[in-house]
């Protein structure tokens, strides 16, 4: 089954849909996925983003493989992969390649690459073979930024997630507010961002927790275009 590629249809719905409500919401399709792309006025969203902004990045295409031959196969597909587990790199095409374990990888397309999707290409190239297994990835994905991110982290996570502790290219698998998440820090488009993924079924809960704390710091949800100019 070419699950990953076939999933990317116009019939997709963001996994955090249940948590999205409000009069100022603007809905749109990104990569075929229905999602909220604006939560407030420009002025409010920019202010939120500076303090503690939260955006839904679930629409970015994802592809996953695991198995003893996963690393070799990805390299055969022309990708440079992280040398060690729990590290990440960015490909020449701008997509993220996260090494979740010695033999497991998550690839996420760069924003705005609808016609040149690395994930699409990998999905088409994939064929079942020994030591190589497809892992469907439909996680809820978030972007976080702002001066109060450290305070958010200190409330929802028990491990040290300060910039120094996170390191440059570390992938951290931890728990946020009781839910398993994958976290990394990225400097992108001249901004310091944190990326977060969790199981899609926990997406609305995670959104509510983060947005709730963000509001206490005068932050809150913003459109994905605030972080990825391709979606402005």
């Amino acid at each position: 089954m070419k699950l990953n590629s076939e999933m990317q249809t116009e019939k997709l719905m963001t996994p955090i849909a249940h948590a999205l409500h409000g009069q100022d919401l603007l809905w749109d399709d990104i990569n075929g996925m229905r999602q909220a792309t604006r939560f407030a006025t420009d002025e409010i969203e920019l202010a939120r983003k500076a303090v503690l902004g939260l955006a839904d990045a679930s629409a970015l295409r994802k592809f996953g493989v695991k198995g003893a031959n996963a690393a070799q196969w990805l390299q055969q597909q022309g990708l440079v992969i992280p040398e060690a587990a729990n590290r990440w790199v960015v490909s020449a095409a701008g997509c993220l390649i996260l090494r979740l374990g010695n033999t497991e990888f998550l690839i996420e397309d760069a924003a705005g690459t609808a016609t040149e999707s690395v994930c699409e290409r990998l999905s088409l190239a994939f064929s079942a073979q020994p030591g190589l297994y497809l892992v469907p990835h439909v996680e809820a994905a978030f972007v976080l930024s702002g001066t109060a991110v450290a305070q958010l982290f200190s409330e929802v996570c028990s491990i040290d997630l300060t910039r120094v502790a996170l390191g440059g290219k570390d992938v951290v698998m931890t728990q946020f507010a009781g839910v398993s998440v994958v976290l990394m820090h990225q400097d992108l488009e001249e901004e310091s961002l944190f990326r977060l993924w969790c199981d899609s079924s926990y997406g609305p809960y995670m959104w509510d927790v983060i947005a709730g704390i963000a509001h206490e710091h005068s932050g809150g949800p913003v459109g994905i275009g605030r972080y990825f100019s391709a979606y402005k």
């Binding site: 089954m1 076939e6 019939k11 020994p130 469907p136 439909v138 305070q151 809960y205």
Partner: protein
């Protein structure tokens, strides 16, 4: 009368901001920065509370968060400690533990009958006659406890934060500040915490008549402010020690759980009171409390006082009192002479009478017992520890400052596993062996002289840095105090008692002696019998004196007595702080909103929110569920099953993995076939069941119930680590949604949406699609023989659900929830692990022999099953039905099966089935009761016995 002093260097109060409040109905004012106690004391109010047991008037004792007799309520909060809680505008305060007010407390008569109420009296007095016990119990329960819980207290969310640092310094006195400066200079992350509102510790109040300490405090804090990597946390106490140096810092704002790579305990010491008659009268206070009043709050403790000391510290207190303008009527020293001769000389020069080798034999209270009138001083025989009354004198005074020594604030050190020893030079317990990464400095380490304390702080910091791998030379040791800082036995016996050791619980010297005589001569036993150290202060001012008394009674050294166990929390911590913000992780299916739009009432199934049923106007819950069941039986129903566990097993040895993991046979399973899976643990106990669908020669797709999915996947990973087979495991529970369409019209509804239905036989699976969405189509028979299960990528679930609902609109398709699902599967005769099994059930007991391939080489639990199989069955799960037309009380799940008056089993599932027209269910019975047609009795909640008959589990077929 105002006892407020003129401006004082370093005072904590803001004289520009006046604060008005009331206490016991009278109006008072203080300053911003005042504690409740200091504001009242400044206004001449000395009775700040009543003692717990005898309701004696009490005033200031320590001003260090140990004044547990000064606990107040403002109507919202209760048991606020007046000695440390800041007074605030508009507060309307009352003392707790009074009946009719602090001045006219009706319970104060108890003090006069105290000889009738020795410790432990209630253990002995109320047992007989037995019929009176409820009467006494009622009285005792009303007397017990302090304060009244406010059940209307608002829920205030207090965040629980996590922080990390390289060095955590606990205590911001001279020692702690020196340690933080040294550690901070390395550039590492340092947190220094202190429970006080301002830093400096004793530098802020122990001045001995000078101001050098205050100046030093300012200098240290100025240096600290230059280090951006050092974070100073004030008003935050270290509440406990947990493994890996996890220490919660608790402040008014909430709790910060600090995980430190190393910890420096510079927590200082608690001052200890000497024990003499009436040492609790308001106006009798610890020397350090008098200093705190004068220097922090600029309040006179009294105007004409006596200092009773058993160490040199009392001389420093006397100098401070003189400097503040207090007349020191005398300094009474329990010892022959001071260790440091300069201190007595200074006092003598200022005309203070020093009375050596003497004690305060007793304090005389004024007429209304609200303060001190005079003290009786007598010689003290240090050999017999008795006062010699032949030369006693009485001095008029209005207050006493008492100094007997110190106890290290070593609570967290004990909790961390520090081995302590009793040092006879300093006369206190000091750390002997510290856990890795923990360091102690200053008074808690037995170091008292100011320069030594600062050097000890630096030493501890350097050791911490070395522990963290920094290249720092090994620091020189700092010697413990050369002179005794505490008295070995500051106890003055008195025939009339009221010489209090424990102010929390009003425990006197004689109580300990009596307890020891009764055999409670072990410190832990004595603690529980006398309740010493069990009050709100947890023995911070009483445990050491109790140990000294017990050592003396038993005639053994102090170290042989030992100490009681120190447990978190260091101070009482609000429940709201412990609870923090409520995180309640829950999972929603991608169809959650679609379910809500259909009127779903949600229920929790594990972490998932699932639809229990769909509300229908005019129908109650039972009718609604029966209508949903009827739709499945007669037309078609649709249920969101996305929470089901879904796991893929890939690889050449996927079938072999299943053969080992489950009890059945899978090696010969054809592609496209589905088979039952039963998982046991190694003891042969039923854990879970489900289905294995072979989608490819090297791909099994496993589906299982909601609750166990994560645990089953973890177990698979664990066994794979052991077996190391050529497989790959992928948990796709969240990646796929699942929708079941069940009922006689199910195929008709789906036939317009997808291909392959005609070829799909029960117990088989195939790949298909609906409008371009890939579907794993499974033919299952859990709730109906006509069930199709669609597994679709989660983001497209909503789309597919709408398509199916639209297709079923004209065919009576109804959504059904978990309530109907449970009844439907019951009608189908399917027992469910977790509902019809428990943590001991083996497959033989539920009649699952058919699922056991005991001739396989091995599977989890096989060896246990082989043993179990040789033993007689202990119980058997049977299907039963109540009599047709039964209209009585319907038994509930877990109601007991009764045979000959004894428990024979229990009901695991039961419900009325409109399809079968009977109440049906599953129950465990003894094996001899399992034959079809056997009648057994079920006892309902009301106690009625209801007859049930064992029937064939295929209820529908029977019907």
């Amino acid at each position: 009368m105002s006892a407020r002093l003129a401006n004082n260097k370093g005072e904590w109060i803001n004289r520009a901001a006046s604060v008005k409040f009331s206490y016991e109905g009278r109006e008072f004012s203080g300053f911003e920065g005042d504690s409740i106690s200091s504001a009242l004391w400044a206004s001449g109010e000395q009775v700040l509370g009543r003692s717990f047991k005898y309701h004696r008037p009490r005033g200031i004792l320590s001003l260090a968060n140990h004044d547990v007799n000064v606990m107040l309520t403002d109507g919202m909060d209760t048991n606020m400690r007046g000695d440390v809680v800041a007074v605030a505008e508009g507060m309307a305060l009352k003392a707790v533990n009074t009946d009719g007010g602090v001045k006219k407390d009706k319970s104060r008569f108890i003090d006069s009958i105290s000889p009738l109420l020795p410790v432990g009296f209630y253990y002995k007095a109320f047992h007989t006659p037995k019929r009176f016990f409820p009467f006494w119990e009622n009285i005792i329960r009303k007397a017990a406890g302090l304060g009244v819980v406010n059940f209307n207290y608002p829920r205030i969310t207090k965040p629980k934060l996590h922080e990390h640092c390289d060095v955590l310094v606990i205590g911001a006195g001279a020692t702690g500040l020196s340690a933080a400066l040294e550690a901070g200079a390395s550039g590492l992350r340092v947190i220094i915490a202190d429970e006080n509102a301002q830093a400096g510790g004793s530098l802020g109040f122990d001045w001995a008549g000078g101001q050098e300490s205050s100046t030093l405090r300012e200098q240290l804090l100025a240096r600290l402010a230059q280090l951006p990597n050092v974070s100073l946390r004030l008003g935050a106490y270290a509440a406990g020690y947990y493994p890996d140096h996890l220490i919660p810092l608790v402040s008014k704002a909430g709790m910060v759980k600090v995980r430190a790579r190393s910890v420096i305990m510079a927590s200082g010491a608690f001052e200890q009171p000497p024990v003499f008659r009436n040492n609790d009268i308001p106006g009798v206070m610890l020397g350090s409390a008098a200093q705190r009043l004068m220097h922090r709050y600029s309040v006179l403790p009294f105007s004409n006082g006596v200092v009773f000391t058993a160490n040199d510290y009392g001389y420093r207190v006397a100098l401070d009192l003189l400097q503040a303008g207090v007349k020191v009527a005398a300094l009474v020293d329990l010892r022959e002479r001071a260790e440091e001769s300069a201190l007595p000389d200074q006092l003598l020069k200022r005309g203070v009478k020093i009375i050596p080798a003497s004690c305060i034999y007793e304090v005389q209270a004024n007429a209304d017992k609200s303060g001190v009138k005079s003290v009786t001083i007598a010689s003290y025989d240090s050999a017999s520890n008795e006062a010699q009354l032949h030369d006693k004198i009485t001095l008029a005074c209005d207050g006493v400052a008492m100094c007997a020594g110190w106890v290290p604030t070593a609570n967290l050190l004990y909790q961390a596993g520090t081995q302590m020893r009793y040092d006879y030079g300093v006369h206190q317990f000091v750390p002997q062996r510290l856990p890795a990464g923990m360091f102690a400095a200053g008074r808690v380490n037995g170091v008292y002289e100011l320069n030594d304390k600062m050097a000890d702080g630096v030493r501890a910091a350097r050791l911490a840095l070395r522990h963290l791998g920094q290249e720092v030379a090994e620091p020189a040791t700092v010697a413990l105090a050369a002179t005794a800082q505490s008295h070995a036995y500051p106890i003055v016996p008195h025939p009339k008692g009221k010489n209090f050791v424990d102010f929390d619980e009003d425990i006197q010297v004689k109580d300990f002696i009596n307890a020891a005589k009764e055999g409670f001569d072990n410190i832990e036993l004595m603690k529980r019998f006398t309740t010493v150290g069990m009050g709100p202060s947890q023995g911070k001012h009483s445990n050491m004196n109790a140990i000294r008394i017990l050592a003396r009674v038993r005639g053994v050294p102090v170290e042989q007595i030992g100490t009681t166990t120190s447990r978190p929390f260091f101070h009482p911590t609000p429940i709201g702080h412990l609870a923090g913000r409520g995180f309640h992780p829950h999972r929603l299916t991608p169809l959650h909103d679609a379910n809500l739009q259909l009127g779903a009432v949600m229920t929790d199934v594990g972490a998932w929110k699932r639809a229990a049923y769909y509300q229908v106007p005019g129908l109650n819950v039972a009718q609604t569920v029966l209508a949903e069941v009827e739709a499945v039986r007669k037309q078609a129903g649709i249920i969101d099953s996305s929470s089901f566990g879904k796991i893929e097993v890939h690889g050449n040895e996927a079938a072999l993995f299943l053969e080992r993991f489950f009890t059945g046979r899978y090696a010969d399973q054809a592609v496209g076939e589905s088979r039952y899976t039963l998982l046991l643990d190694e003891a042969g106990v039923v854990v879970d069941d489900g289905l294995a669908h072979r989608l490819d020669e090297k791909l099994f797709y496993l589906s299982s119930g909601t609750s166990n999915a994560a645990a089953v996947y973890r177990e698979m990973q664990r066994w794979q680590q052991i077996w190391q087979l050529d497989i790959g495991l992928v948990n796709v529970t969240g990646a796929y949604a699942a929708i079941n369409i069940a009922g006689p019209l199910a195929r008709q509804i789906l036939s317009g949406l997808m291909q392959g239905l005609d070829q799909l036989q029960p117990g088989s699976a195939c790949l298909s699609e609906i409008a371009g969405v890939p579907v794993r189509l499974l033919r299952v028979a859990f709730v109906s023989d006509f069930t199709y299960e669609l597994h679709i990528p989660t983001p497209q679930a909503s789309f597919v659900w709408q398509r199916v609902m639209a297709a079923g609109q004209g065919l009576g398709l109804k959504p059904f929830g978990t309530d109907a699902q449970r009844l439907l599967r019951l009608e189908m005769g399917h027992a469910m692990p977790g509902i019809d099994t428990d943590g001991l059930t083996n497959p033989f007991e539920i009649g699952a022999d058919h699922a056991l391939a005991l001739d396989k080489p091995d599977f989890i639990g096989k060896r246990s099953l082989q043993i179990i199989a040789k033993r007689p069955l202990k119980k058997a799960l049977v299907a039963f039905a109540l009599a047709p037309g039964y209209a009585g009380e319907i038994p509930l799940e877990c109601n007991l099966v009764i045979r000959d008056g004894d428990i024979d089993g229990r009901v695991t599932s039961i419900a009325y089935s409109d399809t079968v027209k009977r109440v049906i269910g599953f129950a465990y019975v003894s094996p001899q009761q399992q034959a079809l047609g056997t009648v057994f009795q079920i006892r309902t909640d009301s106690g009625a016995l209801v007859a049930a008959t064992v029937v064939d589990s295929h209820f529908l077929e029977a019907q």
